[in-house]
């Protein structure tokens, strides 16, 4: 009788295990896809924002090279610092533990640079999509 019960329990475990393995493969597939989709959207947002700051800073850095205004050196220093921060920032690595912290610092620096350049960081008010606010 005990053997019979053991047999039943074992069979139940075996069937559960078979189902589990199949489910595990299916679930991994679904989880991977769902995770990838969410990750891609988050990463895209980050890439867009960081890229925008970088393009903006590099372009202004070039534009200011030609001017001889003494105030420019201060602006250039701020731009250098922003560019340096961005280039050191592993924006594409979601496992970087200071991702959010560093992003906030870069945002702050960007705002500072904008005010030095006398540009409102959200100056394209008419077009939400292309404005520099994130």
């Amino acid at each position: 009788m005990a053997d019979l019960l053991d047999g039943i329990v074992m069979a139940e475990q075996r069937f559960h295990g078979e189902g589990y393995q199949e489910g595990l493969a299916e679930g991994s597939h679904a989880g991977m896809a769902e995770g990838r989709r969410h990750g891609a959207l988050h990463g895209a947002r980050m890439g867009s924002e960081i890229g925008c700051y970088l393009g903006f800073a590099l372009t202004w850095h070039c534009l200011l090279q030609k001017c001889t205004d003494p105030k420019n050196s201060k602006k250039l220093r701020a731009l250098d610092s922003l560019i340096g921060m961005i280039q050191k920032f592993p924006y594409e690595d979601p496992t970087y533990d200071k991702l959010q912290e560093d992003l906030e610092k870069i945002r702050g620096k960007f705002k500072q640079v904008c005010s030095m350049l006398n540009i409102q960081s959200d100056f394209r008010l008419g077009n939400e999509r292309s404005s520099l606010t994130f």
Partner: protein, 221 residues
């Protein structure tokens, strides 16, 4: 003694039939219990597998999305810098062109987001769990996903191709150098290639320094 034989044979037949019924019922119960275990296991497995893979998938997708969009962002930032510079320096005639280019980049960004959202799209876990109820575990779901996915991918590809043609139509006079057919062959890259070409042209027209030109030229698309 014939009645005894009859009685015995009848009773043994009866007994036999009862056994058969009982065996049948037991068999049925056994089968349904094991089927239940199989389904329970399947459901547990799906949840465990999903949990295991979500983070890995997220990390992979994040990297992919970030690397795909950084260039878009760089064009946006570059154009915004040029916009503010033109604004300060009285090049008002260039403002509308820059705004147009920013719109094209913005639309392209939306298309990339839509593409990211649709290519990775899969049936929701709930749908899979629901379908477990009435499936016989001889599932072809995997291949169906792939077909659906490919279908969506193609749809997305063709629609973004159209969008890009439409985009470039809006800035019509500026795109004469750029063949339309070329724009549509690789929708991911050609929009930005076109924006880059327009930006280079603009930088030259504005007589900006070579530094600016080089910066725009090294933007990858």
């Amino acid at each position: 003694m014939s009645w005894v034989q009859v009685a015995v044979s009848q009773s043994s037949e009866d007994i036999f039939d009862e056994d058969a019924d009982e065996m049948y019922l037991l068999q049925k119960e056994w089968n349904s219990t094991m089927k239940k275990r199989l389904k329970e296991g399947y459901r547990d497995g799906i949840e465990a597998g999903k949990e295991l893979a979500l983070q890995t998938g997220f990390n992979q997708g994040y990297r992919h999305g970030a690397e795909l969009m950084i260039t878009c962002g760089q064009f946006k930032g570059t154009l915004n810098a040029l916009l503010s510079w033109c604004h300060f320096n009285g090049h008002d005639s260039a403002l509308s062109m820059i705004n147009n280019l920013l719109d094209v980049v913005g639309k392209h960004e939306d298309d990339v987001l839509k593409y990211l959202n649709s290519t990775e799209e899969q049936p929701h876990l709930g749908h899979i769990l629901d379908s477990v109820q009435d499936m016989d575990l001889n599932h072809t779901a995997g291949t169906e996903y792939r077909e659906v996915k490919d279908g969506k991918h193609n749809d997305c590809g063709s629609s973004s191709g159209e969008n890009i043609c439409r985009n470039s139509g809006e800035v019509g006079s500026l795109q004469s150098e750029c063949s339309k057919a070329n724009l549509c062959t690789d929708p991911e890259k050609s929009t930005l290639a076109w924006v880059k070409m327009q930006t280079v042209w603009l930088v030259e027209q504005l007589g900006l320094s070579l530094d600016v030109l080089h910066h725009v030229q090294q933007l990858e698309h």
